[in-house]
Amino acid sequence: MKVIELKNLSKIYNPETIPVRAINDVTLSVKEGEFTAIVGPSGCGKTTLLNMIGGLDISSEGSVEVGGVSIQDMNESQLTAFRLQHIGFVFQAYNLIPVFTAKENIEFIMVLQNMDAKTMQERSDDLLDRMGIKNQKNRRPSELSGGQQQRVAVARALAARPKFVLADEPTANLDSGSTEDLLDIMAKLNKEEKITFIFSTHDQRVIDRAKRVITLEDGVIISDEHR
């Protein structure tokens, strides 16, 4: 089952003056349970593509369908609601809420979804357990290591039971030990729970673990390797 379908997707900056095609006519689909890495040199359009898939940015041309729903014509608040319900995000700089504890950060998404307190409690405990950070649940992000923060970020992304998780350079700020730990967790989630992950990355360790590697150059897919 396809969770993402992109058709002739383009993103053109400065269309009126000097047009720059950050993404150029990309057609792509991602199936449920894939563990996909989008790779390429800096400025090739990885983050732009991820942003359009996640409804954070709108395309200039083409269409984006997530779970069979076109998000192209949604307005801002519809997109926000859609992201909340269907897409999990993991950013490079962790991006946790600094004043909340690890547990509160995970529950934040579920509160936004108006989940009942009992379910929320159970789910956050379960996620903390699976991420191996149960002992750190009452610590604030500033009291956690980079790797631990990124695990909280993954837990937060999974809290809403999204259709897929978009991770923009999730290991860029991590040491090799933390990177391996994080990849182990994500790979396990992908294998055991069929959670779809799409990464944008430079990191060879991520690329090595990916089951599908899409290579971008100048906004164009130059290779799409299934492993």
Binding site: D57, T80, I97, L112, Q113
Partner: protein, 404 residues
Amino acid sequence: MILSIKLAWKNVWRSKKRTWITASSIAFSVFFACLMQSSQLGSYENMIDNSARFFTGHLGIHQVDFWEDQIIDNSFDQQALLELDLTKPSILMGVPRLSSFALASHGDRTKGAALFGVSLEEEAAFSYLERKLIKGDYNTESGVLMAAGLAANLNLNVGDTLVLMGQGYHGVNAAGKYSVTGILKFPIPALNQGAIYLPLETLQEFLSAPNMISSYSILLEDSQDTEGMKAHMETILKGKELGVKTWQEMLPDLVSSIELDYYGGWVILVILYIVIGFGIFGTFLMMIKERTYELGILNAIGMTKRRVQTMVAIEIFLLIFLGVLMGVLMATPIILYFWANPILLSGDAALAMEKFGYEPIIPFALNFKIFYNQGISIFVIALFLAIYPMLAIKQLKIIKALKE
């Protein structure tokens, strides 16, 4: 909503130093504004109270023509009031007064003087006249109580004899010799330089105006509650050839000077508000600029802009509330102290006040409205300034924010 409140509360305390600095700047402006307005309103209340107690009352009942032509012939028989029910919970008390002018003479000195015929016992409660006694006896049956300034000008002392000459009721000659039984010292220079108080009957006899009074002065519980009471009195006095005037009508100069001073005070307050407004705006600006990335993330992961706005609005509310609360808590004990112990001026400042006819003190008013007004003013300013962060959030572009 609970999530927004929780997040806002935590965000407020995220940078404790900044929160305390901002709250303190608000607190100090509220503190100074409260103190300033309390002293302003206290001075007005004091001026109104002094003038009402010594001169006009909050309401005055007169013969209908008296206010246009304040002569002894326009006085009225106090019997006319006896049959009326002038009691009302908002009326504290009323006193009969007869006033006129005469020449006051002692030895080779003569001065013009204002004569006040009063019920000394009632006047002691109404205008606290007895408290002004600095020499001699207050209670006298046929003597006079003289203002200290006038007594000094006439070289008079307690026990001396004063000669009064003037015109009585319906043009009769009025002349008499009176023993000075007491000397009164007034803070109001006009009174201190020219007032002579006599028992009401004594002055009525001097002016050949038995039972006549110029006015019946009424003291109200609330000096501002005059219009309603005036209407009530006019109903009672219908068909009596008597009229009622409020202190605002009888003392237009006082009303004008209060208004002038009040607006002058507001100009200073507005300057203070502008200064604090810039401070608050600076905080709001930082609040948004520093956190653009974070607000973008919140929006990206599913918090609607409206919820983000609510969260920031609550942060602003908490910050302002804290500042206003601190300011009110700082100002309250000081206002309470000065309300009980007005600042007594001395030296040139006192002379300047007296020159303008005011008591040389700075009294403070204790009124909930003072705190309420300042609190509301700061909130309104903050509300106005909060338009900026609200608009900034509305116009937030996630992609741009994530690049911050």
